[in-house]
Amino acid sequence: MLSTCYTFSAYFAIVIFVLGILCKVWKYAITPNPLKISLTPAPTNAAGVILRVILDASLFNSLFKSNKFIWLGGCALHLALLIVVASHIRFFVSPVPELIMLLQTFLQSIGIFIGAIFLAPIGYLFIRRVWVDRIRFVSIFADYFILILLFCIGLSGITMKYFIRPDLVAVKTFIMGLISFSPEPMPTNPIFITHFTLILILLAYFPFSKLIHSVGIFFSPTRNQIDNSREKRHVNPWDR
């Protein structure tokens, strides 16, 4: 019963997640740019623009220039997120790739710190949101919700890693079953069920939330337009 229920909700959440994001991507991709609005000083060639977008997406270059504290919090959070997600790859492929095993070896020695640098910036960003009056003023419920959701996911993950351990083989069998369309029973560890439920909520909520910034950053016209309006005529697609 539990397994069936979760198998269905998992597919449901994944479908919403994937279709939701793809719809957004499609919309962002086809909505026209009537005018050149690159924020200068901007690169004057395509390679420069690609570099600019990559730097913004990976190192948060613009944020670094504007606010060091938010940058630090954001970087720590996203880096921890990246490492955590990368270390979850082992549940999705069999056999586990060598690279992920290397990462695992590294994480086994410092694992708890990753947990801490995942939770600490969430805490910092939450406190900052409540503490700084102008940011508190512009915050809406969704901003707090997403931080709490991520915090709970992180906390349940850490609990599973260090305190109430699920049977990892059962977990992997379940997940592999899901992604190969041959459902397997759901592990019964309560913390795993919590963790999994929260992740499904996150997935289903993702396309409708501000988390879509992860996709949107690649489409931002002030950053991804080449500064060459004098050299090359830009044509407005709806006003030819």
């Binding site: 957004k24 000083p41 613009s62 220039k65 900052r128 009056d133 512009v138 005529r233």
Partner: protein
Amino acid sequence: MAKEKIEVPKLTGKIEIPRIKPGAALVCEHHKAKEQMLTELGYPSALVENWQEKAIAKMRELLNKYKSLKLYLDVCVRCGACTDKCQFFLGTADPKNTPVGRQELLRKIYRRYFTPAGKLLGGLAGAEDFTEEMLKEWYAYFHQCSQCRRCSLACPYGIDTAEISMAAREIMHSIGLGTKYTDEIILKVFNVGNNLGMQPKAIKSSLDFCVDEMKEAYEEKGITNIDVKIPMDVEGADILLVVPSADFFASPHIESLLGYAKVFHQAGISWTLSSYASEAGNFGMFTGSYDGMKKVASRIGQAVRDLKVKRLVIGECGHAYRIAYNFWNTLTGPFDTLDPKYPVPQHICEFTYDMIKRGAIRLDKSANDEFVVTYHDSCNVARATRMGDMPGGQFEIPRAIIKACCNKFVDMPQETIRENTFCCGGGAGLLTDEMLEIRIKGAMPRMQALKQVVDSHGVNFYVLICAICKAQFTKIFPMYGFPMDMVGGVHQLVSRAIIL
């Protein structure tokens, strides 16, 4: 509009982030556009009956037309990096004057009518109905943005509040809500050809007067062989110069016009102004109207073809150069008839810089020895255009010209110049008397930075390349205790230093 005496912030030389005062700037409102103006511009003459529906419909249209709008309404995470960047927030302390606070006004409506979360959860998802109070806030706050893009620089995703406030202004127009100041000016351009509504004859006589004055001034110094002309409507000239119409008569703008004339004269290149395209500025951008912007810009394309010129040069004007640099090619191009060897269009500073480099003009630095000069990067030039080949040329070229014209030059603090520059506080339709309070407060960060170099280096001349900045600062400087004649154009320095 506050009738009582406006309190001018004290200058300490430091820019501090204030504690928030919600609603502090709500009372400062533009005068609304008159019925007949709106009708003439093709908008409803007054707030229409079903304004909510119409506004939502317009918003839907814009969301499909502008990637920037579509994207920027979705991706903001309210990280707060922009909140201390806007001069209007720093000045007024109203949290709805922070970039994100301003955007949220539109985003709340967007969420309510366009996103599943907002439709289902309402306030919990940060959505709000489009009520009359909301419309009032829209009218106040979206007209308190000077579209300077300082926030976009700070934003990790490059969200540009200018794009959002332009959309909001266009939506408001579509339901019959405009500001008197910008609409009046756009109409003047449509009807007469320039923002000030100067008829060609008036321009001509003003220019003739100028030339005579200049001649006399030189004769007083004992130089008699000076014959600098300001030609107008000369067909077949090499260069068409388009300047903001304030340059035709207002002070200190006109000093720069003399500067351009002298540079052209000395370079020996034939040039002309156009009485038809007698305005570089384009307030269409301030109302967010693509069609308006296009209609204003089309006069330039027409003049280029009519006068059969080979090059197009823009005078000292901030948003005009942004539109010229980025939009003219799209709006009224392609400029096939112009000489492709030169950038189209070219900024006058690029032209002058080129002449200096080639040695075509010579400058006597000592003519400006009485000045300690600082340079104000005008926001639109700094963050939306480029001069020369290299990114960042818009910072280097004007500075290079200034340094060639005077001996004493200092920059204001790093975090207030170049791409981090503060707006003068008068851009994007704020340059009107009823908005004086916002203009004063919005200029505060810039004044603090200036105060710092005035105190430490004795700066006594403040040069820039924007007509709106010039008009704003000549009004605001005395209120902050700086002399009005401290403000000048880059070509004012050139005009004084150039050896004829």
